[in-house]
Symmetry: C2
């Protein structure tokens, strides 16, 4: 059987001529980029055919267009190429998935923690067995718990019972019992013990963060993060859901991949803190609805189909072992509530973390991760919606867009006279593309410099070699090939601007629609959650009209608010009830159901701060 | 590395000179008999060394004594022989564990069944999702259940939730929901469904029986039985507990072996009934306390140590998946309550099945499986105890004792004049030994023929070649070598009679002690539970004074009452409460704690119906 070897990973896979190189790379676990998930849109999955045992199929017209002169150097698009002969295929540097800058920290805008953990230690001394009446080990422990603490008949599952006989007979005096909600024993320890550990997760479409916490002191013992390994299947939620629909066992494959990722983070965090993962007595998880469903193993098949119903909404408590999480054998995992198919527990956690639901200040909360979710309101009333912003904010569908990894331009300045460009890149590497904040910075600067006009078109009258005609129409050169890591000019094309106009119009229209429902309430505060919100310059965001209210409101990044909300729910059981209540209270608006959204979307396409704004109307 | 091949099983195992042949055979899963579990007592583990790559170690004195002339034919005792060279070892016919006759049926003495299953089907029609308010699949199902049946918010675990989206959207109208105790959904089926299945287990030390039942009709769809595979570790409970204590991972090994056995029975029974094991929505399990603990994975370490405390006593409901049972993913297994370290849920189930706890008739219930448990009482008051009867009733420690398998003598007659012997064997094969009922029949007949006197000694004055001196003192030949499958004389030795005297004295003394507590209450009914009780001749049992009350009471075998009790609890949830109440009500007497038991034991050693009874005192 012919085989393909992926270089430099030295992984080999059998081929039968039925799958393209992208599919083979995924199967072999090769970190090959593909923003569109194999839909033949993004052009990011470039590979180089180094050796082949037979003739190659001819390049498609799209491949030739995307690859230009590179196709002569052996470059191909993995999603377009099906090989029937053995070959050696190199994944070039620029096509590899790289570790992303992941936001793990919260900010001063986070809600403070009060320590009321759901699992707490209880020390008891248990009477020894006597001969004249048979009292089982379990019964003796329960008698001691009732006598000492008034706790009546908590449950013990088989995994705790298995520890019982030896723990009762250790050479230390007494037993410490980890009790959950006064109704179940989660673990047993010989002698006295004061520390109990928990782990809070934020499961994003792109990144996953684990916070290992001491439930008694509230100390953060370790924070570990990783890329969501489901990225190998597709960057966005829709691609992954399609994968479940189209592949037998696809759901289980995605479920296992995220569970393994969480387990790897648990192991890393526990090792760093010097504890055993088995000592973790509880976990909390937040994530968008699709990530939640994939983690639990619930089929997300119907999420992208109107009326977008999730399988469930309420918060859930499951045995961690039932979901495959490697923490204490009897520990529970608490999943915060979901609101809708595209408003998940990550948004509920953001509200919890920022205290929006307890504040009088009318606040707009925007989370632009892979999806765009928006909340507006205050303690009296809250509305939320989800906008199909598309992947532009994460560099998708943008010619030189890339993830926020090493070499990505995150911010730039354009000299308004000379139109020279200066940039800042992640880790100060030579630029190889633009991450989300870089794209917004570029477009905002191009607006300020008069390069981009109100409708989004380029001012072709400008005299500069940077403005030229390219394959997709006019384009502006930000970085010349000689300065770039890629040895190609890095440009913003007319098409890129159009993609960003669509994306920002979706967000702006969604936010405006929510705000319209609160007559007389002006937004006073705009909170930007997530990595994007933390790195984007609020002024840039206002220049491109990403959201309404820029003139009056204070705009602040609130960091990984979802992760902080997960920690709050881990450390304070009252926050779980609060989350459940706020999830019920918040009103969801389905944008697809309104014509008003379409009107707002169209009128939000323009750049109102552009110099020629007057011309637009 | 040198290797041993076991013939005729064609299994091979590496050796390092550290383990004896019995240990190696167990590890390789060879069905080699060993009643004593390797303690060098029983002499049942005879093997033949066929080929060897080096010199053999010399036979021990015990081997020479046990094997006699056979040692010259290459016979060895597996437990005594450690090889350091490769070899081919044959397991001779007589040393192989054979399928045992297992009692699966109940009798007319069983309590009738009323159908009140704990899981029942509910058909509902669920409203489709609508666009203007997000109602999750789970919520829509719960609304329909509340509206149709008034059932409020039953739980759904992740395994049921995983089936939910597709089941709600099948092409059949409505959904059938299997609901347990009105508080949890166990399974979902598209359309209407009326049948639900359950499985009841009786887990004995020697045998395991599974009853696959239709929960709606009460029909018994299939009954399957197997030897308890833990027999490979040791025939009796104490040997297995010692194995857990002495071997790291020993408990887990025994747990897995019984779980695999139950799963194999489930698969067989389901295949016979034409259903999928996944369709089984509930299981019940009864067994003695050690079997219960090993099945749940609870360390039985402290069971054989005074004051013999079990890890727990109450009935338990666990998710079947947590115990590794392959039935419905969300199904529960109900474990009936235990009373004491040596009075398990099998006895509680026997009481349930015979209705002893609801009857006015003073009844003695005796279960002589591997252990001897005794109950005396009626609906007003019940007492129970456990006697260390030893393995004699199952053929252990008896020279020609064997399991109730093909070729075992189960009953015999001795001509009182000529002292000729006629016998009945299982499956009418040539005799190869005596099973429990055969041993009792032999001793009873020998008493009636005057061969055995009141003290248990042989009447040496009898003129017959059958009575002779053997290795262990006097012995009586039941079967001559020419008539036996073994080509050796089958005898009852003086030592065998002594072993049976100890065993029957333990049972008689235990029963007498319980009866003494009920002044004025005469036993009217003696119920013999289990295989032994079903096959032993009540008259033989009375002749050897196995229990008191023979003269006044009616003696009946009640079949596999434990198994029937397990079925009752499966089909009628009220029987579970009844079992829990009766387990609390029944009073346990620890015989080890009383001097009265010792007195009774000594005075029960004799045979009161022997012709020379007058001589004894």
């Amino acid at each position: 059987m012919p085989r393909i070897t992926f270089s430099p990973f030295e992984k080999t896979i059998d081929i039968d001529g039925s799958r393209n190189i992208l599919q083979l790379a995924r199967e072999a676990g090769i970190p090959l980029q593909s923003t569109c998930g194999g839909k033949k849109i993004c052009g990011k999955c470039k590979v180089v055919i180094k050796k082949t045992d037979g003739p190659l199929p001819p390049s498609s017209a799209r491949e030739q267009k995307v690859l230009g002169g590179y196709s002569e150097k052996g470059y191909r698009l993995a999603c377009e190429t099906v090989l029937s002969h053995g070959a050696v295929i190199r994944i070039p540097e620029e096509s590899r998935l790289k570790p992303q800058v992941i936001l793990t920290s919260d900010t001063e805008h986070s809600y403070p923690v009060r320590l009321r953990p759901n699992v707490s230690p209880h020390y008891v001394e248990v009477s020894p067995p006597v001969l004249d009446s048979v009292i089982a080990d379990r019964q003796r422990l329960l008698i001691a718990l009732e006598k000492t603490y008034g706790i009546r008949r908590p449950a013990l599952d088989p995994f705790v019972l298995r520890k019982l006989p030896h723990t009762l007979r250790s050479d230390r005096e007494g037993v410490t019992v980890a009790i959950r909600s006064k109704d179940e024993i989660i673990d047993l320890y010989p002698g006295r013990r004061d520390s109990l550990f928990g782990v809070a997760f934020d499961v994003g479409t792109t990144t996953v963060v684990a916070f290992l916490m001491d439930l008694i002191t509230g100390d953060r013992l370790s924070v570990k993060s990783a890329m969501n390994p489901q990225i190998a299947i597709g960057d966005d939620v829709i691609t992954r859901i399609a994968f479940c629909r189209e592949n037998t066992g696809g759901l289980e494959k995605l479920r296992i991949s995220i569970v393994e990722c969480l387990n790897a983070l648990i192991a890393e965090a526990a090792a760093e803190a010097g504890i055993d993962p088995d000592e973790i007595v509880e976990a909390t998880v937040v994530g968008n609805t699709a990530m939640h469903h994939l983690f639990v193993g619930l089929d997300p098949h119907y999420l992208p189909m109107a009326p977008y119903p999730p399988v469930l909404q309420e918060s859930q408590d499951y045995k961690a072992r039932d979901l495959g999480l490697n923490i204490g054998a009897s520990a529970y995992v608490h999943l915060l509530p979901l609101k809708a198919g595209f408003v998940g527990s990550d948004i509920i956690a953001c509200i919890l973390a920022t205290g929006l639901h307890r504040s009088k200040i009318p606040t707009l909360l925007i989370d632009l991760g892979t999806n765009g979710e928006i909340v507006f309101g205050n303690k009296n009333r809250m509305l939320c919606c989800s906008t199909a912003a598309g992947p532009a904010f994460e560099g998708g569908h943008i010619r030189w867009g890339m993830r926020a990894s090493s070499g990505a331009i995150e911010r730039l300045k354009i000299d308004q006279e000379m139109l020279d460009v200066r940039w800042e890149t992640i880790y100060d590497q030579r630029p190889s593309g633009l991450c989300g904040s870089g794209i917004i910075s570029a477009i905002a600067e191009m607006i300020r410099a008069g390069i981009i006009l109100g409708r989004g078109n380029f001012d072709k009258g400008l005299q500069t070699p940077r403005l030229r005609d390219g394959e997709d129409g006019p384009e502006f050169v930000l970085v010349w090939a000689s300065e770039a890591a890629t040895k190609q000019d890095i440009v913003i094309t007319q098409k890129d601007v159009a993609a960003m106009q669509m994306a920002k119009a979706a967000v702006n229209a969604g936010a405006t629609l929510l705000m319209e429902q609160f007559e007389g309430e002006e937004v006073e505060r705009i909170l930007l959650a997530g990595a994007f919100g933390n790195y984007v310059d609020p002024e840039d965001a206002c220049t491109i009209d990403l959201f309404p209210g820029c003139l009056t409101a204070k705009v602040v990044g609130v960091g990984n608010a979802a992760g902080h909300g997960s920690c709050l729910a881990l450390l304070d059981k009252n926050k779980r009830k609060e989350a459940e209540r706020l999830a019920q209270k918040i009103e969801y608006r389905e944008l697809a159901a309104t014509t008003r959204f379409k009107e707002l979307f169209v009128s939000s396409m323009f750049f109102t701060s552009a110099r020629d704004f007057e011309d637009v109307f």
